[in-house]
Symmetry: C2
Amino acid sequence: MQKQETLTKNQKIILDLIEKSDQPLKAYSILFDVKKKGINAPLQVYRALKKLVKIGKIHKIESRNAFIACKNSKCQIAKATVFSICESCEDVTEIHDHKLSEHLRDFKDNKGMKYSKYNLEFFGLCKKCV
Amino acid sequence: MQKQETLTKNQKIILDLIEKSDQPLKAYSILFDVKKKGINAPLQVYRALKKLVKIGKIHKIESRNAFIACKNSKCQIAKATVFSICESCEDVTEIHDHKLSEHLRDFKDNKGMKYSKYNLEFFGLCKKCV
DNA sequence: TAACGCTGTGTAATAATATAACATATTTAA
DNA sequence: TTAAATATGTTATATTATTACACAGCGTTA
Ligand SMILES: [Zn+2]
Ligand SMILES: [Zn+2]
Ligand SMILES: [Zn+2]
Ligand SMILES: [Zn+2]
């Protein structure tokens, strides 16, 4: 369900920037970078980020307040994200693990709660940093 | 490994407050509540929170920037947390599911990364809010 | 004892993250 | 072709979190 063609100007500018980075970007660093393209205010950035998160083009790394592009162009799991985060170099990688996804998708607690979404962040040391 | 007896005055005040609430509290709401006890500045709160998180007495709900007490007094999993969050009433519950914990503890990605910690947040609607 | 490292405290200032409110424009759908 | 929904630009402000500095208490150890 490709939707990029329906993005607005600001959304495209900001998505382009995030997609060019393989690591998460913070809102105010995005703002700094897009000022030359006429985006002047935090709110313009946050609005675009909100939309891009909503349609699954990017994800928010909650523990870092940063945003990373979803590399899976057919991402069906915009609402079911798993990341690995190196606590030393801060390298972030999105994990797509079928078995894990299944397990999480099927998880039922004992409260009868219905889950529509989850976010999982693993922390540790990457190979370079061990 | 009970460590509460070694907590300092500020840490105790703040832990008490958080433990009395069954729902997550935000740092500045904590600050407001403990002003009558002589804690005047954000940093005093954040320092106590940091320590309490570190020793597993409380957990941070990353998506909400809020802090909740760990109800499991023998919590071995201060670094392996799972929460369910109702997106309507914002009710938060810590989940202790043995099978899920095992699955997450044993998870290995294909990058050879060594995980020491994870945080999982499920979102949905609780029974009241469905 | 004295020197040191470690942890915590108190205070002031500031940084970083995010939203409210308002006026207007554009797109979409009935 | 009106109405609803979505997006924009701008200003101001709210919320969350840290830096920097001076000092106090405690245990180790020289
Ligand atoms: Zn993705
Ligand atoms: Zn690393
Ligand atoms: Zn816990
Ligand atoms: Zn609810």
